[in-house]
Symmetry: D2
Subunit: 390 residues, 4 copies
């Protein structure tokens, strides 16, 4: 590549996604592109489609798009709604705002439940809005499961229960881009209608694939939904998938990677994957406590297991710290997004990751805090080790 600088040792990519891609996955991608209309391709498609739904914990179909996760947001909306429909969205952070932007650009009415970027979506408030929606204008409730900008995880099961309690028929659309394959997530059990996913986080792939897991009710809704759609339309994809193909040229080499990543996730076992991320998150929070710093997530039950956003002490710029850590320790941390710019840095602890990579990460943060003169107590990394030794 034309623009690389000298790296001594491996870069620590500790943004909350894209995550460190395993060698097995990069190696799988490094194979000759094949005929996307041939029998070997059909076998590949079947290998993927027979296993991918397990990661969403669904028995229904999962639609794969050659796209970023933002494309999968658009697909979730475009397949289920019509111009002028209302969508109820909860402000959880930057990505809830971005998804709102997509909805508005598509001509949807967004009902917005304001939030403080430190809490998840509130099931009670969602239920209240639905109860108040006597005309049933709200056709969908959209929730970000794991808000990547804040490290706050919303209670999706609770949202569904609250919705059900109102008797309202709105669909439930959930963004799991930074939780899928990292945090326990149950499309079927929780009654989600469309789950939006992306390749570059818990799935351990490079970016370039977006996903929609689709419930029967969502499929039904798509039959009458009137938003114009071509690229994002589920129907031709589901139809072609039945023969093992796609209605367009799919992103073949990313599919090789997906097939391999599914093997890795299922070899480890989903429960083991979730438990591993829980440990990383607990150890990271112990480190944050140890430093005497504050987790942006305000409520323990909503702590994210895939990333932690750390608040900077007043008067200290998070991006200055991040720049120094990048320069000195070759580690990328997540920046503060939107109104959190400069106020938080985010530690990604998800994907192809283990205890010693985490300790390298937390040690890098601790040394960075020291070198940047950020007020803190030493001992965060040591505290994390105590958690990892439990």
């Amino acid at each position: 590549m034309s623009a690389s600088r000298v790296h001594e040792g491996r870069h620590f990519l500790q943004i909350p996604g894209p995550t460190n891609v395993p060698d097995r996955v990069l190696g799988a991608m490094h194979q000759p592109t094949m005929d996307h209309r041939g029998p070997e391709f059909a076998a590949l498609t079947r290998s993927i489609l027979s296993r991918l739904p397990r990661v969403f914990q669904t028995s229904g179909p999962v639609v794969i798009f050659p796209s970023s996760g933002t494309g999968a947001w658009e697909a979730a909306l475009a397949n289920t709604l019509s111009a002028g429909d209302s969508v109820l969205m909860s402000e959880t952070g930057q990505f809830s705002h971005l998804w709102r932007g997509v909805a508005e650009r598509l001509g949807l009415q967004v009902e917005w439940i304001e939030g403080d970027w430190r809490h998840g979506a509130d099931p009670v408030k969602i239920a209240d809005r639905l109860s108040a929606d006597k005309e049933k204008k709200i056709r969908a409730v959209a929730v970000v499961h794991n808000e990547t900008s804040t490290g706050v995880a919303s209670n999706v099961a609770g949202a569904r229960q609250a919705m059900d309690a109102t008797g309202h028929s709105a669909l439930l659309l959930v963004d799991t881009i930074s939780s899928l394959g990292s945090i326990d997530y149950r499309h079927d059990e929780w009654g989600v209608d469309v789950t939006v996913g992306g390749s570059q986080k818990g799935l351990m792939l490079p970016p370039g694939l977006g996903f929609n897991a689709v419930s029967g009710k969502a499929l039904e809704a798509s039959a009458s939904a009137k938003l114009s759609r071509a690229y994002w339309d589920w129907q031709p994809i589901l139809e072609a998938n039945r023969q093992g193909f796609f209605p367009y040229t799919p992103a073949t080499n990313l599919l090789y990677a997906l097939d391999e990543a599914l093997s890795m996730l299922l070899e480890e076992g989903l429960q083991a994957v979730f438990a591993r991320h829980t440990r990383f998150a607990r150890a990271t929070r112990a480190a944050v406590d140890g430093w005497g710093l504050e987790n942006l997530a305000a409520v323990p039950s909503e702590y994210s297991n895939s990333l932690t956003a750390v608040m900077m002490p007043e008067g200290h710029d998070a991006d200055k710290l991040r720049g120094m850590i990048l320069e000195r320790f070759d580690m990328s941390l997540g920046t503060g997004l939107g109104r959190l710019k400069g106020k938080v840095f985010r530690i990604g602890h998800l994907g192809h990751f283990n205890d010693l990579m985490l300790m390298g990460t937390l040690s890098g943060v601790e040394m960075g805090l020291h070198l940047a003169g950020v007020p803190h107590q030493a001992g965060g990394a040591s505290a994390a080790m105590r958690v990892l030794c439990e």
Copy 2:
């Protein structure tokens, strides 16, 4: 991968795209995914964006989408048109039909110039329609430069001249998915407003990236175009590109591949690339003549230099031949699409390709014709060698 069979030697991927991806490109893709908001990524973006326009022979911007080529079709329309606008399209083959489908799904009115799938778009007919469009309902003319289903190349420069001659202000949108980086194509000189491209053909990449090269006039049109768009919107991409970034998580590893492929194309030199493809096409046509078979493309000036569609003798099924060649010689040829199903097979001779790969390809076809009992004369491969020795 779970579904591979034993290959002795390299597979011959001679469909007209995806094409054989060079080892250099696969190797470039096989690098750790990086922080898409960091300085190294910005340098990568700049390396790409400073060179990619040269392939389109434009000095204007090129927008990159994580998508298939069909996504780039949608983007070209969605950024420039409004609901109810008319688009004038010329039937050249299957891909013209598919693009038409996208336009209709977006709520556009398609004016359709029928064709016989053996000729390119007719500048005269385009001009006639524009002249007849007194109310200026036609806001865009869409042409497939190189129709992948037929091996027919349309006269884009001629279309533009004919359009200009009418004084009509319609935009010119051109699909170059299977010609870009293989056949001489001049976005600026030919007055094209939006050029649609894809990664998996002449650019020698795996599929997964779509492109729009955009003229000043198209950019202007986008300011007032009213089709809803989010993912496909040029504006936020162009804006973020200025800093070396993207408004969403880009398909990083495919961008590594693109950067490397650009290096390869520019090291060889675009004129050399075009000349090489011209030779391959001439040799292939000599082989087809030598076999006594017929090229689907009816007019020599419209012969494609990146693929050749060969008509099967009456009563012989092209797909049976293709299946046998795949089984026996491990070569994938292009199937007949749409109404050409079973009637033609297509030989891709584009991308990372050379004389001896072409001779392996043509020898495989010749042996396949023999083994399948398809009436033909031997000697096609020999005729190709004579061309290659000139």
Copy 3:
């Protein structure tokens, strides 16, 4: 790499080794080096050592050296002989001379059966020499199974039978560097004592590994053999292998490659591998005949199935032809070695290779002959196709 030039399409590496390395093998090599004293490494060693002997068709051990094939020559001699011992060698071509050189440098006496570089080792002459060796000074007979410089395969089974008929106890050492994994070779059945192999030909690996398959008699001989040896000593390797290890740091990533190549060979099936090479060789000889050129190998029963050496017409320089073919068609052919310099070129048709790669190869030779003005008839490639269609 610093020294690469632009390649359009894949290089045709048609020297008789190193051969075209399959993507699967390159991909296997592209994995992190592991601890050569850990349990995962032991499992790798066992996976290899349980399967590698099958390729030699032996039930005995195979010793792996991090070395070129010439190292494995030295090992075969150093483990079985003592200073001053005589070795009976047959001149078959350049590699028989080189092996002789190794023997002489080690202080062995070489009995030399002269040859004309167009015939294999002669069992009758070997038997005659052994019969005449009343003092049993000859402790080993060394034969090159497939002489890479000439494309002549010696009759190893016949040599053994002739040796046995004399009642002489000499060991039989055989070089199979360019036949192993391509041509049927039977270490046990043919009574060979040490088989010398290398990684870079039929085994489809990059160069860097040498092999000795060892009979019980050879092992016994090694107990009293007095040539000094350290690196090449079988004993410590065989001993460490029992636990899955090596007495030195082994060439780990080449072992990854070997493990994968064994999977490929055994998935295809050894008999299928041999049959495939037989076809390639027959087709190539048909091409040579078709061109009206002469095969260097004089006797049909000794034709090599892994390479063919083609004699140039008087007054034409083979290397000039080769240079032109490299320049124009990006194909490497084997040069004439030793006294054959300029007089022959060699076509490698072994390893990861298939019909269409062969046709590309033969077409390249045919076009090269034409362009270089070498007297020949056209039609060689066509003749090869006829063989491949049988």
Copy 4:
């Protein structure tokens, strides 16, 4: 590979070699093998041979063998000595014993200066022995620069000075297998005659290449040295190298890797490489001190900068600790070799390595000590961070 287990995150390969191979190097190796007699290969050889001597800090030639480092030991002896010659060797640890074994197997007389495996070679004792060697039977002094089994670095410059002071003409042979490219080493300035190196440590390559840097005096000695040698003979290699070739089929893909690794080392700058390793070693020693454990190396001036051997408290088995750390934290540490079995574990901190990888490593050791119930003080990792923050 057939034998892999599930790895979550990257394995920590912290044995003192093989070391973590950079992606750039693995990627370079993952290229098609080329004709080793063609012009592109010659360019590769030149690119390597023009830069490799810099790593040895010599202006003389460096001979490359397809071999392990033990082969390069053998080559150093076989090219310079004759049967019965004496070699003066200093016991520094396991590798000094192994090199001694090679010398004895080659028929050399070894004069042995005993040592306690905690100190380097003693220049004074070397000088004493040389002074006592009135008959000049000692033709070479062999020293292990950095004893990989103990983490003790010998004073090579001092040894040379002491030798010179005696007026004795013995050659100086030095093993730098685990120091080359990590610790400052100066072949020319220090008056070394043969430097033995290997690929898999500071050079950041997989194992499979051995090196001899050769002084003019050593070259001269080789003209009269009488040990039999074929594979290891410098002369044919040096001769073929002049044209860019090798006298046998070289390990092409490892040479690709070497070429890339040289680029990486020289891009970083040798002085920066050495300084980086010095920091890692200081931080590691601070950790060992912090744990209250003892460094096997007894003398600070002899501390190795590429590895640290840590002594286990009495009654605790190092290999049990290592096994637990491998199982629980997926990190490989070096075992105690020879008489140190079970008594020490070795931390490799060399090669493609950085601060955060080191902190992951040291954290893993600290957690392992805790979990294994090894008496120690917490705080070693914290102490290391303090050093890294200086």
